[in-house]
Every structure is written in C-alpha cells, then in structure tokens.
Symmetry: D2
Subunit: 283 residues, 4 copies
C-alpha cells in the first residue's frame, strides 16, 4: 500500500511532523511517496515522485497543513478516486480529520484500512468570454465571483437552470458546496449545511438590494452568472486558491463535478457535534 504525503512546506514545524509521519508509516509497512518538489525541499529526495505519476500510484493521500492544504490536495486527488486524510497543523480545521495528538493512532488505522470514506460534492466552473470557454477549474468548498478592491461594485445576473433568479448589484456571489458552507459562505451570512446533502448554497456578498438572501438549490441544477461592470477589476476564485481575472460580460457556469472529493474519517463524533464545538470555540 503506497501512501502519498502532501505537506504544506512553509508551515512552521512541518519538518518535525513530516519526519514522524514518514517513520511511522514505514514502520507499519506502508510505502511512502512525496511530490518530488516537496520531497527535495523537506530532505527526503529518495521519496520524491512526479506529482502526476504519484496520483496514479498511491492508494491514499495524507495532507500535513490546514484546511487549505487538504482542499488543494482533494481537488487533484478526486479524479483519481484517491481518498484524502487531513492532519491538522493549522489553528482551526473544519475539514481536517486528525489533530496533532492523534497522528500515530490515525496513521496506524490508515495502514490497517480501518476508516470510512465520506464523499463530498465538488463544483466545476467554466468562464465563457464571447461564447468561448477560456477557463475551467474545480472546487471543493466554493466558487466566488467578486469585485476587486479598487472597484465599487458589480452587477450580477443569476440563472438557475436557465431561469433568471436574481439580478442585483453586489460585491459578489459565493457558490458553495455543503463542505464550503462553514467557510466563506458562513461569513457572508449563509446557513450551515449538512455535508451529505445534495445541494448548492448561493450567498450574495454585500448585496445592494436588501431583499437578497441565501438560496439553496439542487446540486444537479446549472448555475449561470453573468457579470456586468464598468471596470475590469473582477475575479473568479475557487476554494480561495485558484484565481482568474474576469471581464465585464463574462459568463460563469457552475455545475456539479463528475468527481467527488473523498475524505477519510476515523472519528465517530457526529458532524453536528463537531461543527458546533468548532463554531463556539473558534469563532
């Protein structure tokens, strides 16, 4: 069984934790791989494998970092059907499964196959400019259309399965999966959505029409957003990580991805208990 490790190489203390993780996995009889660049940087050149090849070889991905590291790994792992296990080295991980104190136990269970897999909706977004697709990308948490800092606002037309559903000036719009509902969407006033639900959450950012609210639609519905503005300071952001500049009159189409992110779960603490604990503790 080959396990791929994806460390957040800039994270403080990553070196020590990575050492322990590698050692434990090898002791338990697993093979270990790291992306070649990270392997080089962290001092394990012998474990380095080119990223593309690695994804074809590993059975499981382990991330060392915060929710961001988990999200970026889950996105690339999803098309290969590889489940991902997040070890939390951040402050407050909503998505990471394993706290630092639980690492050894988690790794042992990982090697022993003692875990369950939770599938999470992913979204594909395409940008169409003058009728042509110019960008395609995926998100586990959210697709965000937003004005930049120098601009005043943008006007959005929102269509659900072809129906005009809203038309408002705003700072932007967040299109979130249930997984993403506890992220940026929550900051903008959106609801918390149970992660297994087959829905998408649409939440405007600072809408200039007071009647605008979060909208919950089926994950099978196509979401189309057309952007109007008199400036060019507009961006599309996926999971807060992938960013692409938009232009006025661009159309963004968001659909359910054919892949699902796979999160490894050991804990039997229920979702609601976990969210509640994290919300009251950390926010």
């Amino acid at each position: 069984m080959k396990i791929g490790i994806f460390p957040h190489v800039q994270k403080q203390g990553i070196s020590a934790v990575l050492g322990l993780v590698v050692q434990r996995l090898l002791e338990r009889g697993a093979e270990v791989a790291l992306p070649a660049d990270a392997a080089e940087e962290m001092g394990y050149p012998e474990l380095g494998v080119a990223r593309e090849r690695m994804l074809k070889e590993i059975a499981v991905a382990v991330t060392l970092g915060g929710d961001g590291t988990l999200l970026s790994t889950a996105r690339v792992a999803a098309p290969f059907g590889i489940p991902v296990c997040g070890i939390n080295m951040g402050q407050l991980g909503f998505l990471t499964e394993v706290e630092p104190s639980e690492v050894n136990q988690a790794l042992d269970r990982l090697v022993a196959g003692q875990y369950s897999i939770e599938e999470r909706l992913m979204l594909d977004a395409s940008i169409f400019r003058q009728g042509k697709s110019i960008f395609v990308s995926s998100a586990v948490n959210d697709v965000v259309v937003t004005k930049g800092g120098f601009a005043r606002m943008i006007r959005l037309n929102l269509y659900i399965d072809g129906q005009l559903t809203a038309n408002y000036p705003a700072d932007g719009l967040i299109i979130a999966t249930p997984t993403g509902s506890t992220g940026y969407s929550l900051s903008a006033g959106g609801p918390i959505v149970s992660p297994g639900l087959k829905v998408i959450v649409l939440t405007p950012i600072c809408p200039h029409t007071l009647h605008s609210r979060s909208l919950i639609v089926a994950e099978t519905e196509e979401i189309k957003v057309t952007v109007y503005a008199t400036h060019q300071d507009i961006v599309l952001t996926m999971d807060g990580q992938t960013v692409h500049a938009l232009q006025p009159n661009d159309t963004i189409i968001v659909r359910r991805s054919r892949y699902r992110a796979k999160f490894i779960r050991f804990n039997r603490a229920g979702y609601y208990e976990t969210v509640y604990t994290k919300l009251t503790a950390g926010r």
Copy 2:
C-alpha cells in the same frame, strides 16, 4: 369527477367568487362538494358534505383564500392523497397557484386533468411530557417552538439524529420545510430553499448567542428540541395555525411525515422566477 371547494368563509368578496367557481365547475361537468358548515354559511346547503366523508370522495381540492387556507386544506388532504389547488384571494400568495384573473382557465384545466402535481415535504411534530406523547400534528410550512409575549426567553437544546447540535437561549426555533422557507423562516433570517429539495431548515429566532445560524439538514433526520424555562409561557405552533401550550422540560420531536402535500401546478413559470418576482414585489 368530484371537486371539493374549501373557501375561507370570512374573506371579503368570497361569496361572489365562490358562486362563479361553483357555476363554472358544474358547467364543465364536474361534481362539486363543500364542507357542510361552509356550504351552509355560504348558501349552498345542497353541496354540503361532512368533512371526513368529503375527503374520501373528492379527487381534487380547490381552496379559495390565501396561503393559510391552502395550508390548512393541504394538511388534511395529504393523508388521502388529494392534490390541492389554491386560488389566491389574499394579497401576496407564495403558495397559491391561481390569481383571480386566471380562475376560469384554471378550473377548465382542472376538470380536463391538464395539470401537474408537485409533492412537498410535510413534518410531523410530537410533544413528549414526562416521557408520554401528549400531542401529535402535521405541518406543511413549519413547526415553531417559541416563548410567549409575557416571557423573557427560553433555552433550547437541539439534537439532530440524537447529536447535541446547539444549545442556546433564544426567543424560539423555526423548523421549516422547503415550502415554509419563504414564510416565517425567511423573516428570521433563513435561506430560500428550492421546494423539491429533501431538506429541513432550522432557524433560531433572536438567538442570544451571536454564532447561531440557520442549519440545513436531511429530511430523513430526526429533530429533537428540549425546552428549558422558568415560566410556562411557551408554545408550539404548526403552520402558524395549530397551537399547543408547552411546559418547561417538554421535548418536541419532529420527523418527516409519511404523507406529502400535493400541490396542483398549471403554470410553467419556474419556481425561481416566481419567488424572485414575489420577493421583489411584495417585500
């Protein structure tokens, strides 16, 4: 084909509209029945049938009134599998399908069977006091646990499928179906939910903890609420219509009903367009 008419007998102008509706249906060859008490009061004693018998005989129910009349009829019609068609005589009907100007056309299509049926989630709520069920009722829109006007607040424990999910002092809690998401739930800050989604929306009313938000859960999950208070001014309300007094330490269990409300639909205007039009017009 027997069509049952359920008029809101106190509504202004009901008499004239009822007369036109009865005449049109008879002209089109339908049989017509009214609940005996309403038939008497409205001057059609010959059409009166006892309510229980009526629900066994009619193929379709037509309501004359607002959303409230539609809701109360839908609740009793659901166990008999009878679809309901709401003719709007109120100001702003989110749920009623037929505006006054469209009545004749709608009735003709009703008799001709030219309509579709939309099924909507219903909720069953039970009150348990000292371990015994003392009240059971159903709702199409929402189940609301709330303090009365004389009381200061109540403390709620919320369990989803047995997991403690929230614990807060508040004025109350709204447990809404997607149908009810555009009603009271929206006033309390809840999201708008597409009516076909298999979810339940939980929204606190004036929570005294600032981190409380709407929560979207699966319709298959059991919702349990325990109420704590030092007073007796607490009530359970179903669809804003059925009310039952609660006592401190009462437990309320809300589950998906085995029945679904059936709404007749003629219009092909999409849900999102309709909601958006009504929201921007009327609120």
Copy 3:
C-alpha cells in the same frame, strides 16, 4: 452615609453574600438599609425600611443579583437621583460593575466616595387607547412591542417625530437605549451602541419585509408606534420586566425620560474592551 442594599432574594447563595456585604459596610462606618420585605426574608429585620422612605434616605444603592436586579433598582432610583452599584451574582453581567471577587474592595471605595457616576438614557413609554393614556412606565434597557406566542404577527406603523418611517408586519419592535443595545436588541440583529451616545436604537423583530433594518435616531425624537392586528395577543414589555397587554389600534409613545439612570463605576477598563471581552466570552 446610608447605603441601600437591594438583593435578588431568590438567587442562590444570596444569603452568604448579603451577610458579608452588610458586615463590611457596617465595619466601614456606613449605615445600611434593606427594603422591609427583603430584610424580613433575609433575616435582617432591624435593617428594613419601607421602599419609598428608603429611596429618600439612601445616598447610594447596591444591588446583589444580575443585570435584571440592577435594571429594576435603577428604574426606581433614577427619580431620586440615587446612583446604583451592581454586584454581579449572575452568569454574565453586561451592566453590573462588580464581580464577586472584587466585592470588598468595591464596598470600601463606595464608602470612601472613590467612584465615578455614569449617566444612562432612560425611556418613558405611554400606552394610548382610544385617545386616553392608560399606562406609563420607564425603562433603562428597552421598550418592546411584540406579539404573544399564540398570535401570528402584528402590523406596526412607526412614526419618528410625527413622520411615518416604517410600516411592516413583524413579530415586534425593540426600542432600545444605548445601554440596552447589548441586550435583546443585539439578539434581533441590532448594533452595539456606545453607552454615552444620545441616541435610540429601533430594531424590528422578524420583520416580514426584508428591507427592514435597525434605525438610529436622536434621543430627543418622539417615537410613536401604532399596532394593528386581528387578535388581542400583543404585549408591551419594559426592560423584560414590566409587561402590559396591548389591544389592536393601541398607540405607544416613547420619549426620553426626564431622569437618567446613574451607574457607579470603579473600573477604568474602557467600555469597548469590556463589551468585547464579554461578547467573545459569553456569546
């Protein structure tokens, strides 16, 4: 110097604390008085004075309890110009000044006159029924017009200095002082207002029109609310303590009181620091 003590007689542990407070004050050379009924109940009959006489004799009032005890004492003390010092025996006191661990030090400073006085806006509310005033009362925190638990909603017309400012169906309306802005008003979505500002905060409770927001007006402006409903389940509540039943078409007029509540302050921790600490800790 005579100090009046107003204990919350039902509070757990009140007896022990009261004993320590009385002893300390007497040791420091102060005279001590309790309301006759409380004095009797708590075992200090020799210190009991009729409430009305007491308010004419004492220089300072000390409350033992939570924010509620402080509010009710501040309301009656204000017309006599008596400053009030709240000793917190509740869980989270926004208004009480002295925590249990600081009692002795605070009492010593009280007797020594080492404190400052902070004046807080109070509101007078009158109910007019068919043109006649039928009820007048004062509030330190808020005046709330709200539907009861059995009712569906009420319609409110709001006039500021005679101008129609809002007209909406809602569960109710909160008219709060800056002091009250961290209470019920905050739960309903209102802003936090610096306590020295000469303003009043109006916040609707679950407004059925989505454009309704908190409104900040001058404390010198007259606020008039007319209530429309088809039921009689409406109440006026002052500070969550004084309650009076309303009827449809009643008019409520709220004006700045001629008196100000006087809060004794020892701590030099700033208001903003205090509120922030309490908000993040307790909510």
Copy 4:
C-alpha cells in the same frame, strides 16, 4: 451671486440638462462658472474657471449627476464652506436633493436664497506606514479598508480611542458617517442612522467571527485600524472614489474632519419619510 456647476460629463443626457441649467441661472441674474476642463468639454469655454479659483469665488455649488458627483464635489467644497445642491441624473439618489422634474423651481429658489443648509459629518483618514503618514484624505460617506479580489482575507485590529475593541479576520471594515449609513454600510448589514447624529458607524465586511456586529461610536472618538495580512492586496477607499493601496502592518487613523459637508435643502419632506420611500422603492 456666482454659482458653480459641476457636471458629471460622461453622464448620458448631461449636455441638454446643463444647457437648461445654465440658461435658467443666467436668466435669473446669477453668474455661472464651470470647472475649466468640464466647460471646455461641454461647449461653454467662456464659463470655465480653474477649479481652485472657482472654489474661492462661488457662493453655491450645483452638481449634475448622481450621488457620486455630489460626494466628490462636497468633499472639495467643504473646506471653502460652500454648500452643495445635487441635481439627480442617476437612478436612485439618496443624497441628491433635486429630481429632474423640479430643476427650474429649485434653481429659482437657489438664486433667491430660499433654502436651508444641512451640515453633515466628514471623516479624515490617514495612512501611517512605519510611523510616517503617507496619505491623507476626506470622506463624506465612508472610509473602507478591504482586501482586494485576489486575496483571501485580512486580519484587522480595531481601536476606539486607544482601546482594543475588536480583532478579527474579515474581508474588511466600513467606517461610515450617518450620511454614508444608507450606502455601502447598509449592504454590509449596518443600521440606518439619522443624518444629524454625531456618531460614526463601524461595520465589518464578512467577518469570519460570527459575533461581530455594527458598532456605533461618538464622532469625537479616534478610530485606529491596523491591518495584518500575508499579501499586499489591501486597499483603502474613500467614498468609493479615492483609492490607496495598503501594505500589511499599515495603520489607518480616522477622525472627524474639521470641516462639515454642507447640503442644500429645499424639500421639507422629512428624512425618515424620504429614506423609507427610497428604500422600499429602489432596493
């Protein structure tokens, strides 16, 4: 009496309206001046005066455009004590006083001196970088610190008169005057503030801590914001018009300006009525 006209030269239809305004004012015996650049562009070179000289000569400024034109003119006119009259050529002017149909009447009253002047709070903002002031500017509506579109979030420390009042990750912070409370601040969830009140409204934009709320402080209090981020995509925006790039660890200090914007008022329709009408109509 010399009247300065400040047209929004790109506005559609501006040419015709400007012609009518100039003619009317001259007919009524007023002198008319335009900023030299605008005069040239609009075909009135003989009326052109250098902007700086113009502000020393005119008694009154008239703006032709929307709220934006009024704001930018009010900012430069304030230090010269010149009152400003906004003629609305936009869609929904909260601040402009004169609708297109009322122009002639308004100009006549302007020349006749039949108007009142309403003074509005202005804010001065300074950016301090490594202890040195690098930018100073004024705002009539709001000072906004916000992340740009490419960035994830920023962390803000907020101090009121030197007290640490809030510390949160967010998209940004809006520091608004009462005038600005119906603008961007409202979109971010802030309250509506009566324009004569001597207060400042602080409203976070998408705060990642759920307990964050709008805060109302005295206009005399100093507001200090320190920005933390791991990126450079941060901006300061004044009235949505003047923009300056910020860097991590920059400190922004906002204080009441020594000048007040002066708005000319003809209508005796009250503020509350006006706001309510505009809010329900346009939002």
